[in-house]
């Protein structure tokens, strides 16, 4: 029975990973129209995003359409004109220019968008994502 439980947890974790990938695809895919989308990734999200066919991971921030960053990311000069999407609450708070964030908290997906960041990079959100806009 323990084995069954372990297998179930494994299944759910794999499933959750796929779920996370789908959420990234839905969010970024509806904002950026290029296919595949060249992205710069830092942090734990890399493992999830490199499995997706929607994204093309580039090594340099300047070559990307969007930078998906975690806690380890330090804003650089060359990334100044690239929209930043945070993958943790801490990075979202730290990078004030980040236009949005997606991360898990207590097993629940957390999605946020900043009005300022969206305006700065002229990004348009589809209707179903507009409810996640942080008014501050």
């Amino acid at each position: 029975m323990k084995l069954l439980f372990v297998l179930l947890i494994f299944f759910i974790s794999v499933h959750a990973d796929v779920y996370t990938q789908k959420l990234y695809e839905t969010i970024l895919g509806s904002i950026f129209k290029e296919r595949p989308i060249p992205i710069f990734v830092s942090g734990e999200a890399k493992a999830t995003l490199e499995k997706s066919t929607l994204f093309y991971i580039v090594k340099n921030c300047q070559e990307s359409s969007v930078a998906v960053v975690g806690d380890d990311f330090t804003p650089k000069q060359e990334c100044k004109n690239i929209p930043i999407f945070a993958t943790t609450h801490r990075s979202y708070m730290r990078i004030e220019d980040a236009f949005g964030a997606f991360y898990w908290r207590k097993g629940r997906p957390q999605i946020y968008f900043r009005k300022r960041g969206l305006k700065m990079f002229h990004l348009n959100l589809p209707l179903d994502l507009q409810r996640f806009i942080d008014e501050k």
Binding site: L8, I12, R105, K106, G107, Q110, Y112, D134
Partner: protein
């Protein structure tokens, strides 16, 4: 009848037992289902009660430590926050994965963390939080009552319990506890499996019952048909004798009719033969009469001549009378059996028909090698022989056979009549004794041979058969020796 009632009794006992078994099984299944549902409900309820107690304790602790001023106190004292979080951590186990306190951000649908009992990835103080099942969370603020709900999107593995923290009659925060339903799910799974097994067993039982019902119905129908057939056979047996009697009577009527037809035919033949036999004496009488007339006219008829001529006429009339008697005796059925040999039989028959046949240029030869005396119906036997001879005569005359002959042999108890008429075609030889079967183109009734066979085999206890030889047909009469 005894067996039938025994069968019915056992049949109904079997059915009642089976129905009781089915009803009992359904009752057990129903009881099991209810009990299993009760166990599940009670287990969940006991979990909820336990969690509710924990949540109440946490709420009481928070109220006590914050002196009913939650937000202000926590904002001011980081040490108190850490102390309360440590307390929350104490309740955290594998089963109670997340224990945290959140507060609704005014005028938004978002919440923010106040306390988090997690060891790793601890949420920050006032970190924004978007819960799932938002309406449940908002409902707690509205009703001030705790609530719980399952997370359907993660296979019912987790349940969230929400306990409001009420201060000054207002909900100031919510204690959220996410706890595992693993044990409950395990029990639910086991009970479901057991329930499925019982359902399969019940279905099987029901299937067997229906099968037995169908087989019993088929068997009952078969028995009913057998009984019906037995009744029909019984009825048929009782009416069979009547039917046989009816058929025998019909056969007798038919034979009688055929016999009458045959007699009429024979009468016609007899008249023909009498006419033939009478022709010569009548001519003789006519000639004598003419002689008397002529002698009288010429006046030369003396008494002597007249007497002589009258005697001749008388003699001829006596001959005519005798002919009539012979024919009458010949065709009169004999009521009693008499003794006769084939030689006598042949002589008396040829007396009647012999001259007629010879006049048609047909040679009749006889070969008698029998002195057996038969005790039988003589006139009937003569009729048969006459019929066979007349048939041969008709064939020979019809086919215009040159050197035509009829040969009659008597060897021991066999009397054989053969001719050179070419025989009977093999395809019809089996049918020549059937009634109304005739090969004659004119005046054939199809009754002669049928009546002959009936007389020989039914009255005289002999046999009559026919074969072909190189010249023609061979009829053989075999009579039993007395």
């Amino acid at each position: 009848m005894k067996n039938k009632s025994f069968f019915t009794k056992s049949f109904y006992i079997f059915y009642v037992t089976f129905i009781l078994l089915i009803v009992g099984a359904f009752y057990i299944f129903r009881t099991f289902d209810n009990t299993s549902s009760d166990i599940e409900k009670l287990t969940l309820q006991s979990n909820i009660v336990y969690i509710s107690n924990i949540a109440n304790n946490i709420a009481a602790l928070i109220n006590k430590k914050t002196d009913m001023q939650l937000m202000n106190t926590l904002q001011k004292s980081k040490a108190l926050r850490e102390s309360l979080q440590e307390n929350l951590e104490l309740f955290r186990t594998k089963r109670y994965r997340y224990i945290y306190v959140v507060q609704k951000i005014p005028r938004t649908e978002d919440f923010r963390f106040l306390l988090d009992g997690a060891k790793k990835e601890k949420s920050e103080f006032l970190e924004i939080f978007q819960p799932l099942n938002l309406q449940k969370w908002l409902g707690v603020y509205k009703t001030k009552e705790p609530c719980y709900f399952r997370h359907n999107d993660i296979k019912n593995l987790w349940l969230t319990y929400l306990q409001p923290i009420v201060q000054h009659n207002q909900v100031v925060a919510i204690i959220a506890i996410d706890f595992s339903l693993h044990e409950y799910n395990y029990m639910h799974h086991e009970l479901s499996e057991l329930s499925s097994s019982v359902k399969v067993f019940m279905s099987l039982l029901l299937f067997i019952f229906i099968l037995v019902l169908i087989l019993a119905f088929i068997d009952k129908k078969r028995v009913y048909l057998l009984q019906k057939q037995a009744k029909e056979i019984q009825h048929f047996n009782t009416t069979l004798q009547n039917k046989i009697d009816e058929e025998v009577e019909k056969n007798r009527e038919k034979d009688k009719k055929i016999l009458e037809q045959s007699r009429l035919a024979q009468m016609g033949e007899m008249l023909g033969m009498i006419a033939h036999q009478w022709r010569q004496p009548i001519n003789a009488i006519s000639a004598t009469s003419i002689t008397i007339n002529m002698q009288a006219q010429m006046d030369i008829l003396d008494a002597k001549s007249a007497i002589s001529l009258a005697e001749k006429i008388e003699e001829l009339t006596q001959h005519l009378s005798k002919t009539i008697d012979d024919f009458r005796d010949f065709f009169k059925p004999t009521k009693e059996q008499q003794n006769i040999t084939y030689a006598d039989l042949l002589a008396s028959t040829l007396d009647i028909v012999g001259v007629s046949i010879q006049n048609k240029n047909i040679t009749i030869t006889t070969d008698i090698k029998s002195d057996v005396v038969f005790h039988t119906y003589v006139n009937e036997l003569k009729q048969v022989l006459l019929n066979l001879i007349k048939n041969a005569e008709d064939v020979l005359e019809e086919k215009k056979i040159t050197n035509a002959f009829i040969k009659i042999e008597a060897i021991e108890n066999r009397l054989i009549v053969r001719d050179n008429g070419g025989g009977i075609p093999e395809d019809i030889i089996e049918k020549v004794f059937d009634p109304y079967f005739s090969t004659k183109t004119l005046n054939g009734t199809g009754l002669g041979l049928y009546m002959s066979k009936t007389i020989i085999e039914n009255h005289c206890n002999g046999t009559l058969s026919v074969t072909n030889d190189a010249d023609g047909a061979v009829f053989c009469i075999v009579l039993p020796q007395t």
